[in-house]
Structures are given as C-alpha cells and as structure tokens.
C-alpha cells in the first residue's frame, strides 16, 4: 500500500530533483577541494614534485619544466580543473604521485576492506547504542538510570585513537583474544570495528534516549497502558517505532562519515584501507590522492543521506514527498 503510493509521478519528479541536487553538491565539493589544494599560498607544483621524490632545488629550469609536464602541472589552472573534472566524470581519478599508480586502482583495492570495517562498525553501533538507550529508558532504578544516561557522554569524549589503543592493550596484549593489527579474517575486524563503533553508538544512544523519553511522555503511551498492555510491550512496540525516526536521520550522517572514522581506526590498527591511505597521502602531500579520497567520501555521504531521505516515508507515513492537495 505504502510502496504503491510511494512511486507516483510527482515522487519521480522529487527524486530527479534530489539527485540533481546531490550531483551539484558533489561538483561543489570537488571545486572547493580543488580550490583549497591549488589556490592556497603553498605551491602545488613544488608540493607534488616533492611528493614524487623530486629534489626541486637541484633541478635545472629545463628539468623542472620537464617534471612539471610529466605530472600535467604546466597547464593553466583552469585547464587542470576541467581536465580533472572530466576525468572524474569518466571514472578516471588521475595518478597518485607518491605511489605511482592510478588512484582509481588504489581505491578499488582498498575500498572493500574499509567498507567491511564500516559495515561491522555501524552494525555494532546500532546494537550497542540501541540497547543502551532502550535500557536507559526502561530502567527505573535511579542510580542505574543515571549511569546509563551518562555513559554516552563518556563515549563521545574519548579520543577514538585512545579507545583503539586501550582495546589493543587489553584484548590483544593482555588477553590475547584478538590480533592487534592486520587483516586476517573476521577476528582482526573486531577491535577496529569497536573503536569506530564507540563514538557512533554513543551519539545514537544520546539521540535515541531523548526521543524515547519524549515518546514515553506522549498520551498514546498512557492510553496503551490503560488498555492493560505491559510497559515492556508499549515501549518496544509503540514508543520505540516512533522514537527511531530522529535516529534514522542521525544514522545517515554517521554512515556517511564511515571513511572519515576509518582514517583513525585504520591507522591505529595498521589496516590497509582507504582511511590509512588517506593518512599516508596527506603525509606524502599526494594532492591527487587526497582529493580523490575526499570527493569519494563526500559522495558516500551525499548518496547515503539521499537514500535515507528517500526511504523516510516508508518508516513514517506522515512524511510524503508528494505535494499535498488541500
């Protein structure tokens, strides 16, 4: 019923509009990063030649020109801008300067590991955050409720790299349950996933606890209780469904931040993923690689939030993308 109503012609128009908007945002992101990387006072030519292990000072003018030509840095800025933009549209991300390989190839190689890590982390975050929020709303013992309510604040305050190192110390070195580094099998996924999940779970728990508390104060909860339904049933079947909506929005934002969070987690656990590559690319000041990763991460962010917006009406029939006829 809902799905039929969902796919009308005005929805299609809405969809087209949103997709176009997403494309414009991505173009703007590319432009902003290009602007930062190429227009700031630092000399992009020198940066990139240095990244390619070329000693700029020792080059003769002719050699410098040849080196510039090799990396396409002798072109006017506008030409470079449109060349790269055209390349991006064709799926060509350019050439990494420090690794001497096509950026697209590097990303394709590293992305699966990061996605597996991100998916595990979000799954963990949902379970941890959801359970914590549910218990915080359900528990009636005052001190326990306070503890459960305060716990997420601790989670968002701890630096992720500290959490990662603490986990390594306890679970890899002391207890020896999981490997400290590497990518061998599922067991090596556990610690980095927890590292990424802690702040995410904490944020989810904060939002969900608040919205659960709000929902539990609504009259329909009292009505359901008056009809003789148990507290647990009312909270699980009535309040939770309504409370999940704001969480869905936040979940979109957090999902979109996967690549970002992976930067720290993958660096701590030495996992060869996109995040670790980002850290190395910045250290080497590899401009094309940094730019490709940022655009990719923004694309993930924009697409996921677009999807979340589109599925919203499925969860909340009160929200429609079709104009209301009054």
């Amino acid at each position: 019923m809902t799905s039929v109503k969902w796919l009308t012609s005005s929805t299609a128009r809405y969809l087209a509009g949103r997709v176009l908007q997403a494309v414009i945002v991505l173009w703007a992101v590319y432009t902003v990063t290009f602007g930062i990387l190429y227009l700031l006072p630092s000399d992009p030519v020198e940066l990139q030649l240095a990244a390619a292990n070329v000693q700029v000072d020792e080059l003769s003018p002719a050699e410098l020109a040849a080196a510039k030509q090799q990396y396409g840095l002798d072109q006017p800025l506008a030409t470079q801008y449109f060349d790269q933009l055209g390349g991006l549209l064709r799926g060509d991300f350019g050439q990494s300067i420090s690794l001497h390989r096509p950026v697209g190839e590097l990303l394709a190689e590293r992305l699966p590991s990061t996605l597996a890590l991100g998916a595990t982390a979000i799954g963990l975050a949902l379970v941890l955050g959801g359970t914590l929020a549910y218990l915080a709303a359900y528990v009636r013992v005052a001190w326990l409720k306070t503890v459960l309510n305060r716990l997420p604040a601790v989670g968002v305050s701890l630096p992720p790299f500290f959490v990662g190192l603490l986990l390594i110390q306890v679970f890899a070195f002391e207890l020896g349950w999981f490997p400290a580094t590497g990518t061998q099998g599922a067991s090596s996924l556990v610690l980095p996933a927890i590292t990424m999940a802690v702040p995410t779970a904490a944020m989810l728990a904060q939002v969900l606890t608040r919205s659960l508390d709000d929902q539990l104060a609504e009259p329909y909860v009292a009505t359901a209780a008056a009809r003789g339904l148990s507290r647990q049933y009312v909270q699980a079947r009535h309040a939770l469904r309504n409370a999940l909506l704001p969480t869905l929005t936040l979940l979109g934002l957090l999902l979109g931040a996967t690549v970002t969070e992976a930067v720290v987690a993958e660096t701590v656990f030495s996992r060869p993923g996109v995040g670790q590559m980002a850290q190395q690319a910045v250290l080497a000041q590899d401009v094309p690689l940094v730019q490709a990763i940022v655009v990719l991460a923004a694309a993930v962010f924009v697409v996921i939030n677009l999807l979340i917006d589109l599925v919203y009406p499925l969860f909340d029939p009160r929200i429609t993308h079709t104009p209301r006829v009054s």
Binding site: R18, Q21, V25, A28, V29, V32, T33, I36, L37, L40, S42, L47, T146, A153, V156, S157, L158, P159, P160, F161, F162, L165, L166, I168, Q169, F173, V207, R210, S211, D213, D214, A217, P246, T249, L250, G252, L253, G256, A257, V259, T260, V263, V264, T267, A278, Q279, A281, V282, L283, Q285, V290, Q291, V294, A297, A298, F301, V302, N305, L306, D309
Partner: protein, 293 residues
C-alpha cells in the same frame, strides 16, 4: 542530505533538552552540580597549566635522563617517563600549551569567520545570503576530518596549519547558528523601534543585533572547544602536528605506541587526560545550555 538534515536535527534535540528540565530531571540537574564544579576545576587546571606549565611540574619536558627511561608512574614521576627518560607528566602539561593554543586558534577562526558570515547572511539577505549559505552547505557535505586533511595537505604540517584546518571545519556551524539568530532578532519590534527612532542600519547592527546574538554562539564555542580538542589531537596523532621534540597531546600518544606492550602508561595516561578534558568541557557546555533556558 546535510542541507536539510542539520536544522532538523537541531530542532529535534533542542526542545528535548528543554523538556529534560521539567520535574523529574530537575533533581538530577541539582545533584549533578558537584560534577560541574569538578569539571570547571579540571578545565581551569588544564588552561592554567597550558599557560604556565612550570607551576605544576619541576621537570623540563625535553630533559633526557638515560637511566630513568620507561619508568612506571610513581610519586616521583606521576605519569612515568618515556623512552628517553623525559617526565611524561611534564610533557603532557607542555603539550597542553600547544594543544590549547591550536584549539583557541581554531575557535577564534570559527567564531570570527562564522559570526561574520552569519551576520552578513542574516542581516543583508538576498543573493549574499543564498551564495554564503550554499557555500556553508557544501562545507557541511565534506566530512570535517577530511576537510581538515585537505587543508593540511595544502598548508603543510605544524600547530598553526592544524588549527586553521580544524577552525575552517567548524565555521559552518557558527555561520548557521548566527544567521538564524540574526534573522529572528531582525524581526523583533525593538529593531523596528530603533530604526524608526532614526538609528542607522550600522548602528542597529552593532548596538542591537550583535550583542543579542552572542548567547548561542558562546554555548556553541564551549561545546566546539571539546570537539576541536578531539580533532586537533586526532590530527597530531596522525602525524601532522608540531615537529619534535615539541609534542601535542596526540603526538605524545602516537609516540608511546611503540612501547604499548611494555609501557602502556605512555599512551594510556595522556589519552585519559585528553578524554577527561573533553568530557569536562562537554559537561560544562551542557550545563550552560540547561542553565540558559
């Protein structure tokens, strides 16, 4: 997309804080006061020690002592010593100087630029508003840490670049909140009264609109102080901070990693220190928010 979501999130969260102030949690808020005092004391300690680290430790952060290397925490060396025998507590306190400088720098950039953008946007409206807000939308679509990494790539490494990188990342939030505030104040009767009374727009802006826009910006600044510390520690942890032997908090934690098995305190104690600082800041800003209502 972030364009639509951010205000939505805001409106959802804010009223709930207000709701929390009603009867049952009021008591919780009062019993939480000792927590607030502790948080203020700790943040005060961090700030003072960042300005004059010498008051709290008699060790030189860079003085090496071969025989005293990798000592466990003791009454003599509160946080133990590192691989060169340097006193870790002293290094953390001196690291505060750099980290707090970077954080303050980031916040100042965010407040000044964000406030300016927000005021221009909200006050003038029209096409400047549209253009600025679209730019803000785009900045919000780039995850903060990646935006910071882009800026660091372009600017190079060090305390100032990471301050700029983090500051630019939190500008959009300040711009948004200032714009909203200015828009709502602009519509109030006393602005109309001032105009009717013959005050120029400049005077209205400086005397009436700006002073009344401070409140939410201040709360956001305290809240983002914690966020900025985390971001700056993360950037210096990743290796983009000041050159050795100077060390921000993140750098200290990163350096201790090589000794994680034998001397875990080298990473865990500074990490705990950062966490405690951010937790205290978050606690203060939340209390501020609750008090303001």
């Amino acid at each position: 997309m972030s364009v639509d979501l951010a205000p939505e999130l805001g409106t959802r969260v804010v009223p709930e804080v207000a709701a929390g102030q009603r009867s049952p949690r009021r008591l919780g808020l009062l019993t939480a006061r000792p927590g607030l005092i502790l948080a203020l004391l700790f943040v005060g300690f961090v700030l003072v020690s960042a300005v004059v680290p010498g008051w709290f430790t008699r060790y030189d952060p860079n003085a090496t002592a071969g025989p005293d290397k990798l000592l466990a925490p003791s009454a003599e060396h509160w946080f133990g010593t590192d691989e060169l025998g340097r006193d870790l507590f002293s290094r953390v306190l001196h690291g505060s100087t750099l980290t707090i400088q970077a954080t303050l720098g980031a916040i100042v950039i965010a407040v000044v630029v964000g406030l300016t953008l927000g005021v221009v946007s909200g006050f003038f409206g029209g096409w400047p508003d549209s253009v600025l807000m679209r730019v803000v939308d785009v900045l919000l679509a780039i995850p903060r840490l990646l935006l910071a990494l882009t800026i660091v790539t372009a600017l190079g490494f060090g305390t100032l670049p990471i301050a700029v990188a983090v500051g630019v990342g939190i500008v959009p939030g300040f711009a948004r909140i200032t714009r909203a505030r200015v828009l709502s104040i602009k519509a109030l009767p006393y602005i109309e009264a001032a105009r009717t009374g013959g005050a120029s727009w400049t005077r209205v802006l400086v005397r009436h609109i700006l002073p009344n826009s401070w409140g939410p910006v201040l709360v956001l600044a305290v809240l983002d102080f914690g966020v900025a510390i985390l971001a700056i520690s993360a950037l210096s942890f990743l290796g983009f901070g000041a050159a050795p032997p100077a060390a921000e908090w993140g750098t200290l934690i990163s350096q201790g990693r090589s000794y994680l098995i034998t001397s875990p305190w080298l990473t865990l104690l500074p990490g705990l220190f950062v966490g405690l600082t951010v937790f205290s800041l978050n606690h203060i800003s939340r209390s501020l928010e609750e008090l303001q209502r």
